[in-house]
């Protein structure tokens, strides 16, 4: 675990105070701590420690930058299920700058960002959603500042960066072929700060808050996988935790969305499910306050928390199938092969014919001189 300085906000109330002010009971608070512990695969003995840490943690300053994005990540977080404890924990941080959620606008908003960056230099958490266009800085600007400039400026004084959503984590939809804006991820630009990728389109709300809770509790980065995703939430694939997995193993597949197999809840592999190659917590935490997740609703996984998911073939094409138009390629290859084959055959025939024509027959006369 990479230890970084715990982000603290000056003279702010603690998380515990903030929660009590909002009418959260001790029981409800501990329940949240237990849920967080189990989500992050921590032993139950850690629950009191999480509770204590959260109770006393000063609210960290958080600056949230939105670049080329659709606000879906913010929507996911705020509209998940109101009011959730996760949502309140989110209230309990000091969100100093967020386009969608802040009251201030225009110069006042930018002033708030600059002030927070100055006051909490080196200690604030920078949350980014959306990709950054490098094709032309004018493609996306905030208060006349290009996304790349604002990211570099804000990252400079950040304790850590959380890239929320697939756009910030991997480039996302703006980066989809042919990537008209030259979109890149946060990690493509910032290389000297700890970055946690929380991909998903959008990410699960509890995953975003879980990562923030981890910060508050331990003041460090959670264990990350090779794509910078917290192992606690992205350690297992959808496929490995899917309740329809037994049907995959048995080879029982829904062929269409309304056939017998679909009604019986069989595996959605043939309908394009990307579960086997997708790492996320959907099958475990589910969505809408634990109600359901796409596969449970009868729709294949799109693989939205993986890089390139928007370019990895059609959403309804099976994972095993080629992404290019192979039939057409094969026909062209066969035609080209036939042409080359006929030419090669003709050359072979010509050289055979030439060999025959140049063949010299040996007669008895050729042999006689030597005998003499």
């Amino acid at each position: 675990m990479t230890q970084i300085k715990l982000p603290r906000h000056h003279d702010q109330e603690t998380v515990g105070e903030a929660l009590r002010r909002q009418g959260i009971s001790r029981r409800g608070f501990l329940k949240f701590c237990a849920t967080t512990a189990s989500l992050m695969a921590l032993p139950p003995a850690m629950i009191p420690r999480i509770a204590e840490a959260l109770e006393n943690a000063r609210r960290p300053a958080v600056i949230w930058l939105s670049f080329q994005e659709c606000t879906g990540c913010t929507e996911s977080l705020t509209r998940s299920h109101a009011p959730t404890l996760e949502g309140l924990i989110f209230d309990a941080i000091s969100l100093d700058y967020h386009h969608t959620l802040q009251a201030a606008a225009g110069e006042a908003a930018e002033a708030a960002r600059e002030e927070s960056m100055k006051e909490n230099h080196g200690n604030y958490v920078l949350v980014v959603d959306g990709s950054i266009p490098l094709g032309n800085p004018g493609y996306s600007t905030i208060a006349g500042i290009s996304n790349v400039d604002m990211l570099k400026e804000a990252a400079e004084g950040a304790a850590a960066i959380i890239a929320v959503g697939s756009c910030a984590a991997f480039g996302g939809l703006p980066q989809a072929d042919p990537n008209p804006t030259g979109a890149v991820s946060v990690a493509d630009i910032i290389t000297d700060k700890p970055i946690i990728n929380v991909p998903g389109c959008p990410p699960i709300p509890v995953v975003i808050t879980g990562v923030l809770a981890h910060f508050l509790t331990f003041g460090g980065l959670p264990e990350l996988d090779e794509l910078g995703r917290p192992m606690a939430f992205y350690g297992q694939s959808i496929h490995d935790r899917c309740y329809r997995r037994p049907f995959y193993d048995k080879g029982q597949f829904a062929e269409t969305f309304d056939d017998e197999g679909a009604k019986k809840g069989w595996c959605l592999y043939k309908l394009g499910c990307k579960g086997p190659t997708t790492y996320n917590a959907c099958a475990v935490t589910k969505w809408n306050d634990g109600t359901s997740f796409p596969i449970e609703a009868g729709h294949p996984c799109l693989g939205c928390s993986e890089p390139n998911f928007w370019d990895a073939g059609g959403f309804y094409e099976a994972l095993s199938t080629p992404t290019e138009k192979i039939a057409r390629t094969a026909v062209y290859a066969a035609a080209a092969g036939a042409a080359v084959g006929v030419a090669a055959g003709a050359l072979n025939a010509a050289s055979k014919k030439r060999a025959i024509s140049q063949h010299q027959t040996t007669t008895l006369d050729d042999l006689t001189p030597e005998a003499k």
């Binding site: 090779e226 794509l227 694939s237 496929h239 490995d240 995959y248 193993d249 048995k250 080879g251 597949f253 592999y269 043939k270 086997p276 190659t277 997708t278 790492y279 993986e306 890089p307 390139n308 998911f309 370019d311 990895a312 073939g313 094409e317 099976a318 994972l319 095993s320 199938t321 080629p322 992404t323 290019e324 192979i326 039939a327 390629t329 094969a330 290859a333 066969a334 080209a336 092969g337 036939a338 080359v340 084959g341 006929v342 090669a344 055959g345 003709a346 072979n348 025939a349």
Partner: protein
């Protein structure tokens, strides 16, 4: 390149390249073989070349008693891994989806667990074949580098496929990418190695059978 990039490459450009090499290569080889032509046989026919050819295409699949006695192991393991390869390649549901997407043809699949069992037996048979090849002095003497290469290229997709299904060793995207790329290696090697017998064997059998058929000799 991360695992997703590899998978994208394997399912996209790499598969396209492999298809072009496989299809072009095999079509060129076929046309070259057919254009070699045959010398006109001036001897009086003592039987039907066509009937002899067609008969041999089938009868060569059935080992004669004497041959079986001498090379029973080769024949049995050979049958096991050839049938195993057929089942694994053509009767697994995700594979049928590939054929369907390329050829537009689809057929029923076997339950995945049964195909899985076939895969294990096929891998074991291929290992047995290699051990036998190395231990048998005559077979070892007759084997060249291409035989070992072809063996490796054949067993690799089986092993990566087994790993991908049971999710051993790598992440999901990487396992699938490795499996598809191992198949693409096989496709690329096909026209240039003895692997092409899968396409040319019936042509060769017909050729042999038609010669003996014309002479009125049993083949």
């Amino acid at each position: 390149m991360n695992a997703s990039d590899w998978l994208l490459w394997a399912r996209g450009p790499a598969f396209e390249i492999a298809t072009i090499i496989l299809v072009m290569g095999m079509v060129i080889r076929f046309i070259e073989i057919l254009m070699l032509g045959r010398k006109k046989n001036l001897a009086a026919a003592k039987g039907s070349a066509m009937a002899g050819g067609l008969r041999t295409m089938v009868t060569r699949s059935v080992p004669e008693a004497g041959v079986f006695k001498r090379s029973g192991f080769t024949i049995i393991t050979g049958y096991i891994f050839h049938i195993g390869l057929f089942v694994v390649i053509f009767l697994l549901a995700p594979h049928i989806l590939v054929f369907d997407s390329v050829l537009g043809l689809s057929w029923p699949a076997l339950p995945t667990t049964i195909v899985d069992a076939f895969a294990v037996v096929t891998i074991l048979a291929l290992i047995a074949v290699l051990v036998n090849r190395l231990n048998n002095p005559v077979k070892r003497y007759l084997s060249g580098w291409m035989d070992y290469l072809v063996w490796g290229l054949t067993i690799l997709p089986l092993i990566t496929g087994y790993m991908a299904f049971h999710r051993i060793g790598f992440s999901g995207p990487m396992l699938l990418a490795l499996h598809i790329m191992s198949v693409e290696l096989l496709m690329i090697a096909f026209p240039f190695t003895k692997l092409s017998h899968a396409f040319t064997l019936f042509l060769a059998r017909f050729y042999n059978g038609s010669i003996t058929g014309l002479k009125g000799v049993k083949s």
